[in-house]
């Protein structure tokens, strides 16, 4: 009899703790969700309001004059279809290149000992710390008047080539890990590969693989989670980047350029401040929506399923 009682108490103790933890977890995330979502919620409800509702103090969340006008107008001003196409193409290219180059460089820094190893690690950190102002001018002048040690002016009547308003500077920076916060990706990959057991590669070497084959066949498959993380960061930051896109591709219709123009809508004075505000609100939703969709797809890769093949204990 007492034994059954004991078992019941143990059961309650165990499950009570579990219940407590899950409730605490729920409360925590509910609070965080409230802090994060509430402004977004306000913005979404405001999106569907007419200007009258803004002045109406009885309207808080639910618009009295429900309208899609702001959304439609913002979509038209942003030229959503075209802009999305260009931006997705551009951003994906940059993100994939950054992901690959930082993976390769990070692997090189983690696994091989050579003279400039530490220097390069320090440089990868410096490249994130440097204020963009310092970086902008020299790199801009480099691409504004691209001379390649005076070789190009010889062929081009003494003039350099300007690569401004082409994707070339951004792609070049992505390849050499010099893009926005690319040094951070290198640092992530370097740290990650240093946690990988070296035995895996040694096994590959014994089986006759060279460093490249060992890297592509053994190390790369096991670092998918990290690569997706870097792809995500790179995509989001390139998508939202103003500094580099404005500097190198100021005239192209990528979304960061187009969306900022929403602030300056005048429409011959026909658009008043409130309508402009409403349109800008709707515009922001168009800017962030694809990123949220992307994250919903990538976050499921953050699961404990990546097995390091061949590793036991």
């Amino acid at each position: 009899m007492s034994k059954i009682k004991q078992v019941r108490i143990d059961y309650l103790k165990k499950n009570g703790l579990k219940l407590f933890i899950s409730i605490a977890r729920m409360v925590l995330f509910a609070l965080l969700a409230f802090v994060i979502i509430y402004p977004l919620f306000r913005e979404i409800t405001t999106m569907f309001m007419m200007p009258e509702d803004i002045y109406d103090s009885s309207v808080t969340y639910i618009p009295k004059h429900f309208t899609f006008d702001n959304v439609v107008l913002a979509a038209r001003l942003l030229d959503v279809g075209n802009t999305y196409l260009i931006t997705i193409l551009f951003t994906t290219t940059i993100a994939v290149i950054q992901m690959l180059s930082s993976t390769v460089v990070g692997y090189g820094l983690a696994r091989f000992k050579f003279k400039f190893n530490t220097f390069l690690l320090v440089f990868s950190i410096i490249s994130i710390v440097l204020p963009p102002v310092i970086l902008q001018i020299p790199i801009y002048t480099l691409f504004r008047n691209f001379r390649l040690f005076g070789l190009i002016p010889l062929l081009n009547n003494g003039e350099g080539i300007s690569f401004i308003n082409t994707p070339i500077p951004m792609i070049f920076l992505a390849i050499v890990c010099g893009g926005f916060r690319c040094g951070f990706y290198v640092l992530i990959m370097r740290q990650y590969y240093r946690t990988m057991p070296i035995e895996l590669e040694e096994a590959a070497y014994i089986d006759g693989a060279g460093p490249f084959k060992a890297f592509v066949r053994v190390m790369l498959p096991s670092s998918v989670t990290m690569m997706i993380t870097i792809f995500l960061f790179s995509f989001v930051w390139t998508w939202l980047d103003m500094t580099y896109t404005d500097l190198f591709m100021g005239e192209s219709s990528v979304i960061s350029n187009v969306a900022r123009a929403l602030n300056d809508i005048q429409d011959g004075g026909a658009v008043d401040a409130v309508s402009r505000n409403l349109i800008a609100y709707s515009g922001v939703l168009f800017v962030i929506a694809p990123l949220i969709v992307l994250y919903l797809f990538t976050q499921k890769y953050f699961v404990q399923s990546i097995e390091r093949s061949g590793l036991v204990g």
Binding site: I37, V133, L187, I188, Q191, T229, F302, E307, L311
Partner: protein, 302 residues
């Protein structure tokens, strides 16, 4: 003689070194173009009086340490800005790192609504970005709109203050709640990247290690301290470095804004470079100290 040299060249170490250069070659080029060249230029500028020529290009007059003397002893704001930035970094970074490691550990466990929780925590990365705030902040100059739309995205305090005002509780309580919530949302915004990095780190730990330790009779507590923490420690180091840098260079950082004003509004590249350069040096020293201290406690497998 020749043969001996050849043999030495072929030694394993030399080959490894060669592959090291090959793998890092993109970044070697990148470091020269995007780090060394701008740094050298900014150092040169910082010791000069810089005047842009109408034809393009710049006139440089060497002035020695005058620019540095100016920013530290003449300029009344710069020292204070620097002090405030360093202070807020030193207080925020430990909180952010511990908070994000905690959240990453929670998000790594199995529970209902995990995908939702992860998505929510990712949002501040987008909502606090320069682009989104720049679109919205410009509108807020119009007073007529502010009353309704102080729900500035990302900056939670405005919307939350509205919400509390609608509830009609005293201003004292409203202020207290607003400021503490504003701190939380700041820390949340800083934590996004560390959370994702640590989460990815936690996920890369092989399940077989956990299985082995549970078979050996380890408790969850022991597994956390003896396996999870050491295995993620390299990523914790990354997060610490990131947090420091982020807090020094984030959008709206006063020192960076000051540098930009000096460079692009006043066209005083000399002073601007001197500011940027001394700022950079301070950040680097701080990062180096933290890196060396933390790196000793990080466990690498090689």
């Amino acid at each position: 003689m020749k043969l001996q040299k050849k043999a030495r060249n072929r030694s394993l170490e030399a080959t490894r070194r060669k592959y090291g250069y090959i793998f890092t070659s993109p970044f070697i080029l990148g470091a020269i173009v995007t780090v060394i060249y701008p740094i050298v230029q900014s150092i040169v500028y910082s010791f000069c009086d810089v005047n842009a020529k109408p034809t393009g290009g710049v006139d440089l007059t060497l002035v020695g340490f005058e620019n540095y003397h100016h920013i530290f002893f003449v300029d009344p704001d710069f020292g204070l800005l620097l002090y405030n930035t360093i202070l807020s970094t030193l207080t925020n970074v430990p909180i952010v790192v511990i908070f994000s490691f905690f959240l990453a550990s929670v998000l790594n466990t199995e529970f209902k609504g995990r995908g939702f929780a992860r998505t929510i925590l990712f949002l501040p990365m987008i909502l606090n970005s320069g682009l989104v705030t720049s679109i919205l902040v410009a509108d807020r100059l119009d007073d007529s709109v502010v009353e309704k739309s102080s729900a500035e995205v990302g900056k939670f305090s405005g919307a939350f203050a509205d919400f509390l005002q609608e509830l009609n509780i005293g201003t004292g309580i409203t202020d207290l709640l607003t400021s503490s919530v504003d701190n939380i949302s700041n820390i949340l915004a800083m934590s996004v990247i560390p959370i994702i990095v640590m989460l990815a780190g936690l996920q890369s730990v092989s399940t077989s290690i956990y299985e082995a330790s549970y078979v050996e009779g380890a408790t969850k507590w022991e597994v956390f301290w003896k396996i999870s923490l050491p295995m993620v420690s390299p990523m914790i180091l990354v997060s610490v470095v990131y947090c420091i840098i982020d807090s020094f260079t984030a959008v709206g950082n006063k020192v960076i804004e000051e540098v930009e004003t000096k460079c692009f509004t006043d066209y005083n590249f000399g002073i601007g470079s001197a500011m940027a350069w001394s700022y950079l040096l301070i950040i680097l020293i701080l990062v180096a100290v933290v890196f060396l201290v933390v790196n000793k406690r990080v466990s690498y497998s090689d």
